[in-house]
């Protein structure tokens, strides 16, 4: 099977690669052409997943396809961007048809769920590795960045923390859990749902935002540095899922919540005047701290005393 046949069968024919609003030209030419509306900016993010580093080489290709796109789409959510399209650069040791069929199906499912059209890409031979680049639309000047958090703002997260890191022993097969907890955690790992609707709602409301991919402490450090503020986190307010607590106990669950990566929840700062509106629209959002003048990330116990933070987030090198 040649490269063009492979692209035609598994990707160009996928439902997510068909005509889509905002995509003037899709798969099959030297470039794809995107058409943002007047006054819109294009938000762009690139993420690579490497076999044996970011996922087990033998994992289910359907799940991998879902997860790979979700991880990238989460960056669009973090900017408050409306999903538009993506490109896929897929490096494969061989053209394994069963693998490609499963991968393309998982990718297509997440793409359609997120409203992302496959607009182009590249397929090459080599060690299994994939790079997705996602594109979203956002009205000029309204994107959510990491800069802009102000003293007095509330620090909020879009849902339970630590599930991604807490699921790893199940993903790797080194631990077992009761079916209900295992199902929940494996779903959080393999098909995290990018918080796209929350991100769009936060446009014009949140003062800073990002998605938690490196771990809460490390990611709050990004907000702290970009906004030149101190971020205070109340450890007792961190939302932990029942499944995470069941499998790991409270101390390890907190450690995963603080330093585990792969949560893909939004973390954001919000002026306190908007709290009632937030609670009404997004009951799953939890206030976990506040922004103060100063610098750094500070972890507080129930009495407001500062705790020594555990080790930092995931280090790639």
């Amino acid at each position: 099977m040649g490269e063009f046949e492979l692209i035609r069968r598994f990707f160009a024919a996928a439902p997510c690669a068909q005509a889509a609003a905002g995509v003037a030209l899709g798969v099959g030419d030297d470039c794809a052409l995107l058409q943002p509306a007047a006054g819109e900016q294009l938000a762009i993010s690139t993420d690579t997943l490497v076999a044996g580093v970011h996922f087990p080489e033998s994992c289910d290709p359907f799940l991998l396809g879902q997860r790979a796109l979700a991880v990238s789409a989460s960056d669009l959510a973090a900017m408050g961007a409306t999903p538009l399209a993506f490109t896929l650069a897929l490096t494969l040791p061989a053209a394994d048809e069963a693998w490609l069929e499963g991968f393309a199906r998982g990718l297509d499912r997440m793409a359609r769920g997120c409203g992302l059209a496959l607009a182009g890409g590249d397929t090459t031979r080599g060690p299994l590795c994939l790079t997705l680049t996602v594109f979203g639309r956002v009205p000029a000047g309204q994107a959510l960045t990491r800069a802009g958090a102000r003293p007095g703002d509330l620090l909020c997260v879009g849902g339970s923390l630590g599930d991604g890191a807490g699921a790893l022993p199940l993903v790797l097969g080194t631990a077992q859990a009761p079916a209900q907890a295992a199902d929940y955690l494996l779903a959080r790992y393999w098909s995290p749902q990018p918080q796209l609707a929350l991100g769009e709602w936060l446009r014009g409301r949140a003062s800073a935002a990002l998605d938690i991919s490196d771990g809460l402490l490390a990611d709050c450090g990004h907000i702290s540095r970009a906004s030149k503020v101190a971020v205070h986190i109340d450890r007792e307010r961190l939302p932990l899922s029942a499944a995470l607590l069941d499998l790991h106990g409270r101390e390890a669950a907190l450690q995963h919540a603080l330093s585990g990566g792969d949560d893909y929840r939004l973390a954001f700062s919000l002026p306190p005047a908007l709290l009632a509106e937030l609670r009404a629209a997004w009951p799953e959002v939890t206030v976990i701290g506040r922004v103060e003048a100063g610098e750094g990330v500070h972890l507080l116990d129930a009495g407001g005393g500062e705790l020594r933070p555990p080790s930092a987030g995931y280090q790639h090198f």
Copy 2:
């Protein structure tokens, strides 16, 4: 050295990553933000280069950085797009500072030569591999595609063919050549110059265009299928460099010109009424054939008789 330190030192600090027109937000947030002008479309292309497949693992990182970006920028030229920005997804076995310094310098040199700003990316650990995604601006509806060639159009190429494939024995160290020929061919391989100015000139003039990356015959096949026309190539008119002829002789040089990849010259179809204007503006362009009603790619000898084409272009799988 952590991922963020690596990005800061070698990429975010590079001249090509500094503030650029059309880039509203660059390296360092969840997404970059591009700002095309009203009425413009965004042309996007993604290419992956894998060590041991697309380049020798031990090659000079400066040359690799130059070449990687040139290969991608050539796709913008093929659409007639004006370069805007790019993202880099770099997978490395280890954070080798000397390698990174050289690679970033080569990338930066080509980026500034092409007018491409580094807007974001990802760095990961794994087998050496890089994926570049390039972005260009083009007035809506004016991009050059592979469809649109009409019977009667001239078939043209932007310069000598076969140099990329002909340089391979020198790149791999399996052959030697006199210094002048070697210098020329190695430069064609390691720093092909994307024909960006030619591509922009062809907007509104050429009826179809692409860049020659899979080999002339294979790439003309793309035009033939997309435009639903026959493409006739006069073998005797193929432009061959003196260096290519010196190193390989005429028969092998022709074979490289027809089936070798990696030329990164534009091939395009042009209404014959524009020939004088083309010759005046672009003396290095050669007319190598014509578009006819029908289908397929036809290779003709000096007398107009059809030749059996040699094997097709590069097959990735």
